[in-house]
Amino acid sequence: MAEKKKGGLKELSPITIYKSLPKTNCKECGQDNCMAFATKIVNREVDLEACKPLLKPENAKHYALLKELLKPAVKEVTIGIGDKAKKIGGKLVMYRHEFTYKNPTALAIDVTDEMSESEVVSRVQKTENFSYEYIGNTLKLDLIAVRSTSEDSDKFKACVKKVFETTQLPLILVTLNPAIAEAGLMAAPKARPLIYAATTTNWKEMAELAIMYDAPLVASAPNDLSALISLAKTLQEYGVKDIVLDPGTFANEGLADTINNFTMLRRAATKGGEELAGLPLLGIPMVTWVNKGELADDLVKWRESYLASMMITRFADALILHGNDGWSLLPIVVLRQNIYTDPRKPVAVEPGLKVFGTPDENSPVMFTSNFALTYYTVASDIESSKTNAYLIVVDAEGAAIDSGVAGRKLTAEKIAEAIKTSGIENKVKHRKIISPGKASRISGEIEELSGWKVLVGPRDSSEIPKYIIDKWQP
């Protein structure tokens, strides 16, 4: 596989960037000097625009040059304005092991202009209020897609207006009829909604709207990539600045084409430097709803959810969904969070003694593994219940409790050693340690080696607070 990289981040060195910086060492960017800033730039940890002197007219040439050097393989497009504006695309690489993916897939939930006003408002509010706490992150939804099923300009305008008044979330206006699209654009003035969509037949009118309203525009050509990039090229030359690609989403029998199209476009952009393929990709998992009525709603939601997840893994930069049940959305938002984390992030946390709240000499002592996700889950359960406790993090070589015990990474020897070196013996009077339920089979060994009494705790850390209230006695 050719690993040719256009503006490739791996071949960029801080020196290359440094050469074109103003070299004032002014610290305005928050870094100690221009070289430190250049290093941050290469690692994509700061934006070029943080360098104020670079934005001065006399440095315009250097700024343009650096912009070109740092240009991502997939263009970044902004939907909406202000704090809640959503950036999509901006991808530097194809595979997540190459570099942290930028701009997590934006998730839109739809409403239609034939829903009652109260239904529209409640769906919008539910989308806006969607929230799940996951290892220190709040997982949210991002956009509202307003669809015209009525084909009536007035109805669409009224619906968009209602949505626009109800939420700060950016919008996607969905209709293939330019007159209806314009009615929607008038109802959300200067809000830069994403217009869906320009096709090979309506493209000129849609392009005019995108230019007039300064809004990003989706180019849509289902299952025909040549037509799609022809359309994108036409729109670009016509003067549309921000274009998003919709190669078509097909469920079931169309799954292979869907996955192939997204994969080919992203490879052409990242490995082949194809500029027209290097635009954000829109996926539409809600296509599973076109057979509504033939199947149980739960089955449609199930299919929509797994289709969305597959598209997050395969390069979608934004998705439009209809199902808004927690059970079907939760796997999607968690997967998105997983796929968009820094792949260099260590699997393990530092072993040793962690203190929660203000424990005293009678407070409970627990142990867990140093696998990052195990640790953060346990820590968040202890923290959220405001329990005062000591937690000994044992070096299990980054394994979870059950696999650590099974795979001899989390052994009684290591636990006894961790108890000894933690200094806990000087902090508490008692000699009792709570073991994770999943490590119960080695509790006898731990008692023998450490001399501490082992209390077998719950199998899941969510029950720790209750366990301590019910069972803990120093």
Binding site: L335, T374, A406
Partner: protein, 410 residues
């Protein structure tokens, strides 16, 4: 605006034909390409030289003087070239199960692996062997989540009945017989006793079997040796051999019995390479499946996904030590609390959330290149099988046959 590309011969030509300013020449010497804005070019004859392969990259960006600024009145036409790559290597195949004529007793066998491209890049190459699913069966009671338990509660404790249910009702391609009763910290059953269970399951179903141990390296070695001695020729997949076992000893008796091995390592490709190297001393490439460790969605799936994706790409690019089919213990998805925990009403019912958690874990790893899925929930198994059928159907879609989602009254 015109974009030009620096090339030694081009530059010479340029200086002969066009008088470029020294600024531009200096920039050309330093950078692969520069863009000139507000640039006018008057020329009777414009000769542009392209090196082979560059044309496609440059042409779409080229706007000739006179055309710039005018809006197209009709659709421009350009062709998308599918970005096909070639790879120096392919993934090994492994055959599982053996029929009577092959020295075993199975009614069917499966071959996995053999990929020529990354997972489901079917625009590039067909998938030679469809990924398959094996369902977990345990030889004693184990803690199961409610969503799983409701489907198997009648057969827990009866491995033969459980295996039959898995194959006949849940559509499992294979069955994994987890002989956890031999665990010294559980029942400490003898390998001979465990083999009786294997015999019963062989009688109950005619699909190939995977034989799972208890995780204790010493006991598993003894168990696997007994299984290999008693059931020579069945072409079991022995799950699993790890670096803390006596790898050489295991490899020898597995080879002698004609079985295959699942090489299990904890999320580190260097360990996977090391284990495979040690297995190569006694086993053929076609006897080895890798398990690089599966973490649940939300609990390290990202590590598992990237690890497997890298292994697969590495294997195709010529890293022989990673060019093996991959197995995933997808059942690990149930270790995530979101899969089984009763949560507030907003996130219920968990009877759907749980199996969907397993499906999402499985499909993410399907797209990383997994060939063999060890799974638990019947609905998750059905979806995985449906999706692999769709992805390997080889049919092209006519969008006209798909209803328009834009106006659907959902």
């Amino acid at each position: 605006m015109i974009t030009t590309t620096h090339h030694d011969t081009d530059k010479k030509k340029d200086t002969e034909g066009l008088q470029l300013s020294s600024d531009i020449l200096a920039a050309l010497a330093k950078f692969q390409q520069i863009e000139l804005e507000d640039f006018h070019l008057d020329a009777k004859e414009l000769e542009i030289l392209f090196t082979p392969g560059m044309a496609a990259q440059i042409l779409p960006k080229l706007k000739l003087p006179g055309v710039a600024g005018s809006k197209p009145s009709s659709l421009l036409s350009t062709t998308f070239m599918p970005p096909i790559e070639t790879y120096p290597n392919k993934i090994s195949t492994v055959k599982l199960g053996a029929t009577k004529s092959e020295g075993g007793t199975r009614g069917k066998t499966f071959t996995i692996g053999g990929e020529l491209s990354p997972a489901f890049y079917t625009f590039e190459n067909v998938i030679p062997h469809k990924p398959i699913v094996t369902l977990d069966v345990f030889d004693m009671e184990v803690p199961l989540s409610k969503a799983v338990k409701m489907h198997v509660k009648d057969v827990v404790g009866d491995p033969a009945a459980w295996a039959k249910l898995a194959v006949e009702k849940f559509g499992a391609d294979m069955v994994t017989m987890h002989l956890i009763s031999v665990d010294p910290l559980l029942k400490d059953a003898s390998p001979k006793e465990a083999c009786k269970t294997v015999e019963k399951v062989l009688q109950a179903v005619d699909v190939p079997l995977i034989i799972g141990g208890c995780g204790d390296p010493v006991k598993d070695t003894a168990l696997f040796e007994e299984v290999c001695t008693q059931f020579s020729g069945e072409r079991f997949l022995m799950s699993s051999v790890t670096l803390d076992m006596d790898v050489e000893k295991c490899a020898k008796f597995i080879k002698k019995a004609g079985n295959a091995v699942l090489a299990f390592t904890p999320m580190d490709l260097n360990f996977a390479r090391e284990l495979n190297r040690r297995l190569y001393d006694h086993l053929a490439r076609e006897d080895i499946v890798m398990d690089l460790t599966t973490a649940a969605l939300g609990y390290g799936l990202d590590y598992a996904f990237t690890n497997m994706e890298r292994a697969r790409i590495g294997g195709l690019m010529g890293d022989q030590e990673l060019a093996h089919p991959m197995s995933s213990g997808t059942t690990n998805a149930w270790a995530a609390r979101e899969a089984w925990l009763k949560m507030s009403a907003d996130w219920e019912p968990r009877e759907l959330r749980g199996p969907l958690w397993e499906v999402t874990t499985a499909l993410t790893l399907l797209l990383a290149g997994v060939d063999l899925f060890m799974m638990m929930h019947p609905a998750a198994v059905k979806t995985l099988k449906d999706v692999t059928n769709y992805l390997t159907s080889g049919k092209k879609v006519d969008p006209a046959n798909f209803a328009d989602w834009v106006k659907v009254r959902a």
